[in-house]
């Protein structure tokens, strides 16, 4: 496939990306592997997102759920016209792509060096955090203990269950999964994801937390992390709002004085705490 030169980051002009593989994850969730123009995505950081354009339907912001070895992954839940059109694509077809956009997770920075890492994911929130885990595993010596705490509606709704199983087998990761309810076949935890925090055993004085999931879950998780002794500025949440331009011009994703597309999606809890308390935002 011949690609045109990649547009500059922040451009409104999409590049062409080819769907090279498609995997069914859970229910109405699929992961697309994309081949993108050389030089366009190699620098993308965990936590950033792309604008994916289903031709003739529309454009939607989707987090990067994997970006290694020339394979860009996006995990998509079919909930609207655009995401449904993307989820219906088959390998060999093409889409438009703009990005990467936004502020990513504080991984691979001085912020997290030698710290314990606490990753808390709820539902599809594991998708933007998966590149963090992969990045940590690629540079495992940089970090202290690493905790991965995952919440899901039920066992059937656990995202990336095979990769989670691989992580659980490792001796350098502490992985706990909990579901809201389960049948007797489930041998793991049942309960709210907040219940995993108190029992995890991380040192709140020297930890960095990265949290992604439904906003209400992130609010309660951040509260539980603070209760455990973690300072606000070391808790990072990935926010979600409808985005249009992705570069902070249109104002569609305004969240108080911030634009989620430009100032986020990953933001620290000391910035977000007063905003999350305002129900109307």
């Amino acid at each position: 496939m011949a690609f045109a030169p990649a547009p500059a980051p922040g451009s409104f002009t999409p590049s062409l990306a080819k769907v090279t593989a498609k995997r069914s994850e859970i229910g109405d969730v699929v992961t697309l592997d994309l081949e993108t123009p050389p030089g366009s995505m190699e620098h993308a950081r965990p936590g950033q997102f792309n604008m994916l354009y289903a031709f003739g339907v529309g454009e939607v912001a989707i987090s990067i759920s994997g970006n290694a070895n020339g394979r860009l992954e996006h995990t998509i839940r079919a909930v609207g016209a655009v995401s449904q059109a993307l989820a219906d694509l088959e390998p060999g077809t093409s889409i438009g792509i703009r990005g990467p956009f936004g502020a990513g997770w504080p991984v691979g920075t001085q912020t997290d060096k030698n710290k314990d890492i606490v990753i808390v994911a709820g539902g599809l929130g594991l998708a933007p955090l998966r590149p963090v885990v992969r990045d940590i595993l690629a540079h495992r010596d940089r970090y202290g203990r690493v905790f991965i705490l995952v919440g899901s509606r039920n066992p059937e709704a656990i995202l990336y269950d095979e990769e989670l199983r691989d992580w659980r087998k490792r001796f350098d990761l502490e992985v706990e999964v909990t579901v809201d309810y389960a049948g007797r076949g489930w041998r793991g935890n049942v309960g709210a994801v907040t219940c995993l925090i108190g029992n995890a055993g991380f040192d709140p004085e020297s930890s960095v937390a990265m949290v992604c999931g439904p906003e209400i879950m992130m609010r309660f998780v951040a509260g539980a992390l603070v209760d455990a002794g973690m300072p606000d500025h070391r808790i990072h949440l990935s926010m979600e709002r409808n985005m249009k331009c992705a570069v902070g011009l249109c104002g569609r994703c305004q969240f108080g004085p911030t634009f989620i597309c430009k100032d986020g999606p990953v933001m620290s809890y000391d910035t977000l705490r007063p905003l999350l308390a305002i129900g109307e935002l």
Binding site: R153, T194, C195, G213, P214
Partner: protein, 152 residues
Amino acid sequence: MGTLEHIIAEHPFCSSFAAEHCKLVAGCARNVRFEAGSYLARENDPADTFFLLRSGKVAIETSSPSGRPLVVGTLGAGDIVGASWLVPPYRWIFDARAAGPVRAIVLDATCMRAKCEADHDLGYAMMKQFVPTVVSRLQAARLQTLDMYGVA
């Protein structure tokens, strides 16, 4: 200090108890083991015991609308199982099933209620431990009812 008293004093639920209170609790306690699949308690049975879990996992179960067992919570080492012994009419609300081999301290509820009535300092110490546990479980249960991940 006797072995049972020592185990009770070391358990997170009782770790803030005074030594004399651990001794009183130990007078109502004994060690128990449960095989996987056996029940610590059954719904609607008299709540004449509660448990301090030492190891293993306990599934809190009820019946789903379809009639099949539904696990609504799990508890592990360091947790307590059972608060119904504190509140009339003293009946278990859920099943508590050993999800694997379980070691626990079982406490006789009638004995504990009598000692808490006779020694209000013990009763207060017990309530100071139970109320935060019950409140945090209530908060977690409320989160579970929100079905948060349905819109993630």
